[in-house]
């Protein structure tokens, strides 16, 4: 039995969130949602179904920030020890001004590593459209794409239609042809 992708289109984020919950209730877990703006309703439904928890990008930012502070400590303390000139009668190691450098590098390296984490976890840049992606999912429509065996596709379509999908398309994965 071949595998298919059932592509459903919704008019509103509320209906799309309802579709996600309906799929979960029908014990269908292999799906991907597409939406044009960060809808709280859809993200809540996805979180509820997948139990993902907060994004791991925060760890990248945390470790980046720590790296930034440590780099600043090494830079300021290290170079002051190496070039221990007394300027204006101030101590060679003057901690208060070094805190400014630590703060700036915390923000700089933390921010850049957070961005790196964002690209890594999203596997970006993406060069080809993901299966089931439609251009209107970046404009004004909400999509749910379910990958399943052809035998189950009918049940999936029925669940999505009941949830309010306005259009449902089936795509055979091997042949990549579409029919309604």
């Amino acid at each position: 039995m071949s595998e298919v992708a059932v592509i459903s289109t919704f008019e509103s984020d509320e209906e799309c969130a309802q579709g996600i919950r309906a799929l979960h209730d029908a014990r269908i877990h292999e799906f991907r949602a597409f939406f044009p703006f960060p809808s709280e309703k859809i993200l809540e439904a996805v979180d509820h179904v997948r139990s993902w928890g907060p994004s791991p990008v925060r760890y990248w930012q945390l470790f980046g920030g720590i790296t930034g502070v440590l780099s600043a400590i090494a830079l300021t303390f290290g170079t002051s020890w190496e070039w221990n000139l007394i300027v204006g009668g101030r101590p060679v190691i003057s901690v208060p001004p070094y805190i400014i450098i630590m703060f700036e590098l915390l923000i700089l390296i933390g921010g850049l590593s957070g961005l790196t984490g964002f690209f890594v976890h999203n596997r970006m840049p993406v060069f080809d459209p993901l299966r089931g992606y439609r251009s209107r999912f970046s404009e004004d429509k909400f999509g749910l794409v379910v990958q399943c065996d052809e035998g189950v596709a009918g049940r999936v379509e029925s669940v999505l239609r009941d949830a309010g999908a306005e259009d449902i398309t089936r795509e055979i994965l091997e042949a990549a042809t579409e029919h309604h």
């Binding site: 044009p36 703006f37 960060p38 001004p97 450098i101 964002f118 999203n122 404009e139």
Partner: protein, 454 residues
Amino acid sequence: MAAAVETNLQPRYIDVDRQVQRAMAPGGLTYWMWVLFCAFLTALGIGFWTNQVYKGLGVTGLTEPTMWAPYITNFVFWVGIAHCGTLISAILFLFRVRWRTAIYRCAETMTVFAVATAGLFPLIHLGRLWFFYFVVPYPNERYLQPDFRSPLVWDFFAIGTYLTISTVFLLTGLIPDCANARELATGWRKTLYSIFSFGWQGTDRQWRNFQMVYLLLAGFATPLVLSVHSVVSWDFAMTQVPGWHSTIFAPYFVAGAIFSGCAFVMTLIIPLRRFWRLQDVVTIWHLDNLSKIVLLTSLIISYSYCVESFMVWYSQDPLEMTTFHQRYFGPQGYLFWIMVTCNCVIPLLLFSPRVRTNTVSLFIISIFVNIGMWLERFVIIAGSLATNTMPSQWRFYTPHVTEVVITVASFGWFLMNFSLFAKFMPIVSMTEMKEGISWLRQAVRTSYPYQKAA
């Protein structure tokens, strides 16, 4: 009639795309003439700067004791302008302020180009700019390292970090919008938006990570924005110069930066919404809220002027007293009073709801604020240096044509970059507008029943 109102309150998402895309449509003759004019000003500035590099700083009016005058004034002015972008995009995002959605992209863009403009002035100001890299900490054969106790080195780190993080923040927010624009564009524009969208397709996983990185960047940018202008103020406050050596400088500069930045956003966005017909996206409600921030910060800096003067009087320090007396009643005292009029008196008009909802009056007030805030920096920097601790050295700065042209050119350079960006990139965030469009319409209709809602 009821049906028409219902339609206005429930616009379609595609309507937002159409309105923003109208602004991104190929520019007409007027637009390109404007860009060309800005490019001409920039080229003129480059010409004068080249002459200054070739002949030395002697071609300027900079002389002892006023060695910091228009260039450093421009530096502080443009950093201050840059301040507001991150305030609107990051701080208001953290506070979930809904009216930021229509204007934050414009403010962020302004931030990036304003910091880029500000960053040029320390270079322009250097007599031997080819030694600029001395401030960069790296192992070298000169056995020298930057002194991390110097505010100028703090400035290098603060401005560098601010420019980088502001750019990252702008580009991250642009990713979903460029994906949106990519689907509607053709030809080379499609390629451009494909590059800047990094293949974004708006999946649940992508949005989840996007939400997190955007929140964290906003969280990081918030203390950064407060720190940057504080650090800039310490360039002055850490010295012993009368008129500069004050503990009030950091909050005073930050409030002034927000004041001038918000006014500059109005200066930019009011013509933009008029010429590119963005009135349904950037509504009078947004401008009203922005002008309330301008009014609030105007009151804060008016208070700061009073406190600064009071502290000088209370200290009875003869040097400080003399400097301030010269600032108010000296040969260039008229600049101070123009500044007070522009920054403290004219913005009081914003107490009137009629003024706040009239775009012409808002635009005029914003221009006065820009002039006032430039003068504020000039009065503090050049005025304080002119009356130093040696009365025999006192000398007020007189501008020469080089500084005037380079100052005007900086506006040309900024406006050219901003105009080009606004034409080729979504200057209003389509994704965030879609998220809150229904709420926006209701807010506009509730707050301004006499205004056209859609």
